[in-house]
């Protein structure tokens, strides 16, 4: 069964909390929390998230997609991944 946007958000949220924000309350990270432009995640964290998404969902993101425009919030990330795994 294909992951829904909500599933993806939850998975990515868990990953970000455990990997980059240990100790943070899950309530503090919502779908629209700015992750990159606000400095919550740095460039290395961004690269790691992309690698996680590619592995988890069996997709390959393009170089131009690895920018804040596509990855700045949980919603952005879920949208990008959904578009990639959608049947063509």
């Amino acid at each position: 069964m294909q992951a829904t946007e909500a599933d993806i958000k939850e998975t990515v949220k868990d990953y970000i909390l455990s990997e980059f924000l240990p100790g943070e309350s899950p309530d503090a990270l919502d779908d629209s929390t700015l992750l990159i432009t606000s400095g919550v995640l740095d460039s290395i964290a961004t690269v790691k998230i992309v690698s996680f998404l590619e592995e988890k969902y069996g997709i390959e993101l393009e170089a131009h997609e690895l920018s804040p425009e596509y990855l700045n919030t949980l919603s952005d990330i879920a949208r990008l991944v959904t578009a990639r795994i959608a049947p063509k």
């Binding site: 980059f20 924000l21 240990p22 100790g23 943070e24 309350s25 503090a28 990270l29 929390t33 606000s38 400095g39 919550v40 740095d42 460039s43 290395i44 961004t46 690269v47 992309v50 690698s51 170089a63 690895l66 920018s67």
Partner: protein, 551 residues
Amino acid sequence: MASTVSPAVKRHQIGSPASTGGLPAAETAGPAKGTLSRLLRDSVERHPDRISVEDPTSGAAITYRELGERTGELRDALERHGINAGDRVGVCAPKSVATVTAIFGILEARAAYVPVDAGAPPQRNAGIFEDCSVRMMVVAKSLVDDLRTAAPEYRLDTLQELRDDLLLVRGMENESVAPLPAATAAQEGPSPTDLAYILYTSGSTGKPKGVIHTHASALSFVDWCSGVFEPTELDRFSSHAPFHFDLSILDLYVPIKHGATLVLIGEEVGKQPLRLASLIAEQRITVWYSTPSILRLLADFGRLARYDHSSLRLVLFAGEVFPVKHLRTLKAFWPRPRYFNLYGPTETNVCTFLEVPAEIPDSQTAPFPIGWTCMNDRTRVVDEHDQDVACGEEGELCVSGGTVMQGYWNLPERTEHAFLRDSAGLGWYRTGDVVRESDDGCYDYIGRRDRMVKRRGYRVELAEIEAALYRHPSIAAAAVTASPDEDSGVRLDAFVVCSIGTRCSVIEMKQFCAENLPMYMVPDRFIFREAFPETSTGKIDYQQLKGSSLT
């Protein structure tokens, strides 16, 4: 082998890789002659039609002739607005052909350039410009409003619009700064002893400090590079480091000296391994120079196997330890180039170096040494009483010679403390790095004497992060520790005690730090505590904090 003679002062010695480095004969003692801007003038004459600077992001590329002409235009503009020899000119702009032109124009006008991180908080940049009392600034149009907001007490009027969305802006002259010793009489172009640039590094007092280099000290390093790396006009150098970072000195001046091409890599592309990997292939880079952090990202995430990187002949790295496991991974992708580990704080330029052997034994886990002393410098290792230690014993590495800075901007006491004075009055810069020398003159890096760490190649004073945290209204106490980390090299943990009745979130803390500090200084983890453990003398017990786990 006991070192009975023990020459405390090491120079390039037997056992050092002179044979592999192609070093020039001993012609290098004494200060370098010439100037950085002279390098450009000579290349304009020799290679007028070759490409000097190329910016793949914008597609811009200019020849040496054009770079020479535009540099002259900029010098004229600065002079028209009253620049004098010895003045400082701030540079706050993303990397571009125009920014490179501005740097050479400033040098031609006999002024010193003060580059800052265009992505850093504007307050921090304004503080730096004020500290060294810049007379003018070259600022990107898109950044000038932020700077004006950050420094409302100055009239940052636009003096002139420059090429490519750069502005020449009135500076932040600060009357508390004493003028420099009077410059020599008017002449064409700078002289070797003129200030060339000031690079600001993290300061333990919470305020960045400015490292001053003259044309001669920079050139001494550039000349050493010529001898060891043997560049030609056919080389294509990567310019990965931003201009406020000392790695940029090699990037900027070595290719210009040899009529080679400088390929600019902007901040955004520079952080993205996939784009970097394709850029290296498309631009046929021959000499790569960056921190190990970036090379690790490339090896791990750059899909290097897909690209043709056969143009690379040299891979240079500096700024931090390169874990051997990751260096091995990189070499598996790129077996052909020669690899050099370059060592030296901003204060000394590169002062020791080591060529990585073609084969790294599988059994090796320890990082490579920082290597042998460069030709133009001398080094010694001293104990806490400033006495030279014997080979094999640990001590602080001190450096003297052509590549060493003049001092810290407007901080005479700190400058005095930064140097060990020998009986002959010669100054030896105390690196703060603890090293051990082997019998053949090779230095192993052991660690630091103080609370400074290297993160992604940048110096980070933990106290500067603490000072920033204390500015947060909800923070009652802050302590930052650094621990080695398999993944990122160094992990920064911020221990925080919140004021009574307040609750802080990790996300809020990270955002606050990102607003007040450069990204490389934002702690990885925040750990909230009710109170800090104290030592018997009532100080924060960092060791105990470090040992306490994240709950």
